[in-house]
Symmetry: C2
């Protein structure tokens, strides 16, 4: 018996699928209890078809999605085109036609996932997307299966390889943001428009999906605050090191007494924290839970073979469930009503980098501002006073988002005070 | 509908099961699609029963295994007594009586796993043991599900929390082995007879189980070479640091052209390697594979709640499969004939710490010995020559086990040469 699949798109990731099918045939057949056959591959046009044939790819390429949707033999549609459209339409049509779907499309799932999941459920079909979060790291299925009896209290993730590569260079080599971006673009890690990667948008998509699996709550993408790495200066990096921290772009989803809070922001991690040594393009998801305690899942966040491996794991799972006649179980069944945390419940330490006039009384003025919000200092570092300007770095004790907002406003209104950067600090 | 389980033993780990059932009721019921009920708990004798009642544990305690085996309502037997007997007999009887089994007993599985798995398969019953390897780290199920389409080429694991705690203290604080052992015993991490932990036996049990899941091969415990940490000196630790390494007790299973090789040994890890920063009682499993590339799974290797979480994940899985009527699928289905690697195919760099007479010509003599086996040097460090004795540290380039054996013999036969220690070095 063989299970016929169709690939939508034949880019980098998709071409990893036949690689795995060929290299690991025996093991895949053992796990799936069926052979997996690539029956059709959707490409853009005849020119692409031609190009792929010339390059030696001997698949039945088609250029019209109908040839896949209307083919009753195809049981699984594997969407690897990315972006919202036409992926959304094609997945919807596949589900409507009774086909199981595997996708790696985090943008789509983060924004329209609810709709697609509802359709799949209504149809009794599988919609799996392990590859959508942290590419090669099997974090979603692990949350479903192995943390089924556990309760997650917080998830911290280095979820974007591009920005992590850049930050690693900024920390290890002292590069500026611009130097790091240029190299990332030259190496093909960053696109010409790097916004999604460097502004935390890509990581925020992943945080949306992680929230569903870890907390059972379907948070809206708009409710995930995101802040990128573009304003991190070499001075911030140097001060972080001096104080025993490493700066990473961290996706953070936690449950507070009032609900969950999700955000992506540059974060000072104590250098002993397991996430602090996740370098280069690697990703990692650090899970805090009441059962296991602390666990971390580390691996490549992108790339042809890692992503294809996650995609293939989904395909194998569906094939096996077809065999067992239990297909249709939702990828993630953990579901609770969404409750968003109140700002006063979301707490952290913070780093403030501030320029002030270099005159007496400035420290008193700042201390009064922080004190008026009941925020106390953990560490203070005065740097580079030149008679005109002084640079002051403050790490606070734990405060809430409400306090943060209030103090930020007051600092913005204070004379001779210029807040350069505010970053979250993970307490030890 | 509720699924009735029986616990064999009510020690540390077992008491974590009711904790999770109580704290995570809703999520567990959602995942299992059934309530899980602790129907009976086997304890040693009336005295223990009395003691547990007084301590407020209100379970139907029994002291005779027959009361569980003969109870037709009990569907899952959870063995948490440890050691070989009577655990083996009880599990065998439970399987013969048609009950599914969950256990955390690595000793038993490493030595008698084949027999028990065959019985479970014959009976069409589940025998799950996620907690047997690296306690709270969900590595076994991840290898089964998420690496189903991948091919593992090597597994490196920090698999024993006790020895890792000790080594961390030896590295970070400069403690001797004896100091570290004493503290580990005071903290309850090491038993009064620490042999299994410090001599690599416990880690070797886990390597046996990992070999089955990662490579599909049922290697015998006797085929896993194991070497412990008791002869590591402060000098070894210091030299490792100077050369850019961290010493860890590492379980290493790899596939070579001729077959698989498994061993547990103190290993010099480059300090940038993800395993090098796994400290204290934490465990981690680092997986090299052709699909994902490099991934790591990190978490607590032992402890009440982490281990109970893995046990509960198994129970939930079985309950769900009972509901779906697909129970009986083997925990690990990946199976190939066992092939052991030839010594000449098992290759590594090595560290030699050698005392020699402090006279001219010694270096030449050593160089000739290594050269005669075609082993070349990567790093040489001469230390502490006092006119009588010189201490020499050599890190070699890659050599095979055959070369290692030959050169070790020649060094043992050489005049004025005393080999203090030989450790494996993971290349960069």
């Amino acid at each position: 018996m063989s299970v016929k699949i169709a690939l939508l798109g034949f880019g980098t990731v998709a071409s990893g699928v036949p690689f795995l099918l060929k290299e690991n045939t025996e093991k895949i057949v053992q796990a799936a209890q069926a052979e997996i056959e690539i029956a059709k591959v959707l490409v853009k046009d005849d020119a692409e078809k031609e190009r792929l044939w010339v390059a030696g790819h001997n698949y039945p390429f088609v250029t019209n999605i109908d040839e896949i949707i209307q083919d009753p033999e195809i049981e699984i549609v594997v969407e690897l085109m990315g972006r919202i459209e036409p992926a959304k339409t094609f997945i919807t049509r596949a589900l409507e036609a009774g086909k199981h779907v595997v996708t790696a499309n985090k943008d789509l799932l983060a924004v329209h996932g609810g709709e697609l999941r509802t359709l799949a459920e209504k149809q009794g079909l599988a919609l799996y997307y392990e590859a959508a979060v942290a590419g090669g790291i099997p974090i979603l299925r692990t949350l479903v299966n192995s943390l089924a009896s556990d309760r997650v209290t917080r998830i911290l993730g280095v979820l974007n390889g591009t920005s992590n590569f850049m930050l690693t260079k900024m920390v290890d080599e002292g590069w500026t943001y611009d130097q790091a971006l240029k190299t990332a673009q030259e190496l093909g890690y960053a696109e010409s428009d790097p916004t999604n990667d460097v502004e935390g948008i890509d990581a925020a998509y992943k945080a949306v999906i992680l929230s569903q699996f870890a907390f059972g709550m379907a948070i809206d993408f708009e409710s995930v605050a995101h802040k990128g790495i573009s304003n991190i200066t070499p001075e911030d990096v140097a001060v972080a090191q001096k104080l025993g921290y490493v700066i990473k772009l961290v996706g953070d989803v936690q449950e507070t007494p009032s609900g969950i809070a999700a955000e992506v922001s540059p974060t000072f991690l104590p250098k002993e924290h397991p996430l602090a040594s996740v370098n280069g393009v690697m990703n990692a998801v650090f899970v805090e839970s009441i059962g296991i305690g602390e666990s971390m899942y580390y691996g490549p966040g992108a790339g042809q073979k890692p992503t294809a491996t996650s995609v293939m794991a989904d395909i194998v799972r569906i094939a096996r469930r077809l065999k067992e006649k239990t297909v249709g179980k939702a990828f993630n069944e953990f579901s609770r009503p969404l409750k968003l945390a109140l700002p006063e419940d979301v707490k952290s330490e913070y780093y403030f980098s501030i320029n002030t006039a270099d005159r007496s009384g400035m420290m008193l003025q700042l201390a009064e501002i922080f004190n008026s919000e009941e925020i106390s200092f953990k560490q203070i570092l005065q740097q580079a006073a030149d008679g005109k300007q002084a640079r002051l770095v403050i790490v606070t004790h734990t405060m809430s988002k409400t306090q943060l907002e209030n103090v930020t406003k007051k600092l913005a209104g204070a004379a001779d005070v210029d807040v350069l950067n505010i970053f979250k600090v993970l307490g030890e």
